[in-house]
Amino acid sequence: MARPMEDSHRRFLQTMMANGIVDEQSARTLYQYCCETHNTQHTPDKLDDFIETINSKLQPMFMQIRKGMSEDNGHQFYALVNMAETDVTRMSSDYADNELELFRKTMDLIVCSENGKASSTDILNSADTLTTKKLKKSETEHLLNRLVHDKWLNEKRGEYTLSTRCIIEMEPYIRSMYQDQVKVCHICRNIAFQCQICEKPTCGIKIHNPCVARYFKGRAEPRCPACDDFWPHEIPEVRRSRSQSKQ
C-alpha cells in the first residue's frame, strides 16, 4: 500500500534527521516544499500518507516518524524516534553511565510528581545518591543544560519537565517502567505528566492541561467526564496554533 520512496520523501527525512522534532504546521509546509522542489504531486491533506511511506522504509532500522502532543501548548508535533531501545540506553552514545543514571532519577521525580515537574533542587539532591560515579553540582547543572539543548528536557523557572520529543520517543519505555505510577489522560489515552486530576477519591481520572482546555471549552459548568462531579480546577485557554510556531 505504501508508495515507493522518492527524493521528496528523502528530503523530508533528512530535514527530520537534522531537527529531531518539528511542529505540525512546519511539517505541512516542509511536505509541500519537498514535493514542489522535486516536482512531485502535492496533496495537502495527505501528509500522514507521505510520512507512512517513509516509515515503511525506516521500520527495518527501528526508526519511525511519530506524532505526539505537546503538554505545554497542546499542539501536534512530529518526531523522528529510535524504536530499538527499550531503555534510556538510546542516549548512550551521547551520555556517560552516571549521566544516564541522573536522567533516570529525574524521570522518576517527574513521573511520581503531581504536577509533572522536578525542581532543580530535587535533581541536585538526587545527584548525591548516584550508584555510578558521583556528579558534582556544577557537572549536574552542565548536564541539565545539555539535556535541554538535546531536547530531552524543558526548563522553566528552575523546574524541569519532559520534552515533547522525550515523551513521544520514550512512551513505550515509560509505560512499562512506571506502569503503576504513570498517569494516563482520560481524553486522549496518552501518558500524561502535566495534567489535572479529578478530586473525587473514587474517581481520580487525569486529563492533560491542553485536553482540559479543549474538552471543557465553552461549557458553563465543567463536570468530570467519568464521575460527573464538578470539575474544580481552572480551565485553561485553548492555545491556537500559529504557523511556524516554535516548540
Binding site: 527524493d7 528523502r10 516542509l30 516544499y33 517513509i54 522504509k57 527495518p60 532500522m61 552514545s93
Partner: protein, 274 residues
C-alpha cells in the same frame, strides 16, 4: 594447515572487497574448501567466501545486520566522525565479517533509496568512510537545518587555503583571523576555543589536515583541505563567495577557477550543508 583462499595478489585496494587478512575459516574444514573450489571454479575466492558466508545466515539475519550497520553509520556521521572499517567489523559485523562486501552493498542501497545519502571512502589505505548528501542543496528551505556556529569559521579557513593554492602555514591562518577580529589565543564569543576548533575539531572531522612541514626547526605546521572537505565543500561556491567579497569575477583567479571546475574540483556530488 588451512589453505588461504585469498592469495596476496588478489587483495586489491578497491573499496569494499573482503581483505580479512586472517582468513581463519573456523567453521570450515579443509576438505569443504577444496570441494567448494571444485564446484564453483568460476567464482573468485573472495566472491566464494561471500557466497558461502551468505548461506550460513537467514535473510532476516542479514537484513538485521544491515540495519545495524546503517544505524552505526548514522550515529557516527551525526557527529561527523568517519567510520573505520575495522570498527565496523569489530563492533557490528562480528560473525558476519565474511560477508562484509554484501552487507556494505545493501547498506549503501539503503542509504541511497531511503536517505538520499551515499557512502564515500575518504581513505582507501585505512578504509574510512563518511556519508555524503546526494540531494542538491535546495533554495530557501522552510526549516533550515540547525547550523553549527563554527561553520562560518571553517568556511573562512577553507577559503584561505584554497585561494593560496592548497596549503597554508598555520601562522598565516592565525594572522588572517586576527585581522578579522578573531583572536585564536582568546576565547571567542561565538566560536569558543578557536585554536582547538581548527587544530583539533575540524581535523578530527576530516575537514582539515594539520601537517608538519618537513625540515623545519622549530617545527612548523601547515593546513590543507581534509578528505571530508574535498567531497562535501564546493570549490565553485567558494570562488563565487570570494568574487562577491572582493567584487571580482571568479574567473579572474584563473588557477583557482580552473581547479574548481576540473574533475577533482567537482569531486563532491552535491554541495552539502548537512
Amino acid at each position: 594447515m588451512l589453505r588461504h583462499h585469498q592469495a596476496p595478489e588478489q587483495r586489491s585496494s578497491s573499496g569494499g572487497r573482503v581483505t580479512v587478512s586472517k582468513s581463519r575459516r573456523i567453521h570450515q574444514s579443509r576438505n569443504d574448501s577444496e570441494k567448494e573450489a571444485v564446484q564453483h571454479p568460476e567464482l573468485l575466492p573472495e566472491q566464494e567466501t561471500v557466497q558461502r558466508g551468505l548461506e550460513r545466515f537467514t535473510p532476516a539475519q542479514v537484513d538485521q545486520k544491515t540495519a545495524e550497520v546503517v544505524q552505526f553509520f548514522l550515529v557516527r556521521d551525526q557527529k561527523k566522525i568517519p567510520v573505520r572499517r575495522a570498527d565496523l567489523v569489530k563492533h557490528v559485523l562480528k560473525d558476519y565479517r565474511n560477508i562484509y562486501p554484501e552487507i556494505m552493498k545493501r547498506a549503501a542501497r539503503t542509504f541511497d533509496q531511503v536517505f538520499g545519502l551515499k557512502i564515500v571512502e575518504i581513505d582507501s589505505k585505512n578504509h574510512m568512510y563518511i556519508l555524503v548528501n546526494k540531494l542538491e542543496t535546495a533554495e530557501a528551505p522552510p526549516i533550515t537545518n540547525p547550523t553549527n556556529p563554527k561553520t562560518g569559521l571553517l568556511f573562512v579557513v577553507l577559503s584561505l587555503i584554497f585561494m593560496k593554492g592548497g596549503a597554508v602555514r598555520e601562522n598565516l591562518i592565525w594572522n588572517t583571523l586576527k585581522k578579522l577580529r578573531v583572536d585564536a589565543g582568546e576565547k571567542h564569543e561565538e566560536f569558543g576555543d578557536v585554536k582547538k576548533a581548527i587544530t583539533d575539531e575540524f581535523v578530527r572531522q576530516r575537514y582539515l589536515e594539520y601537517v608538519r612541514i618537513p625540515h623545519t626547526e622549530p617545527v612548523e605546521f601547515e593546513f590543507r583541505w581534509g578528505q571530508r572537505a574535498e567531497v562535501e565543500v564546493s570549490k565553485v561556491k567558494i570562488l563565487e563567495f570570494m568574487g562577491e567579497l572582493h567584487d571580482q569575477d571568479p574567473q579572474s583567479w584563473t588557477q583557482q577557477f580552473r581547479e574548481a571546475h576540473s574533475i577533482s574540483g567537482s569531486l563532491q556530488s552535491a554541495p552539502s550543508n548537512r
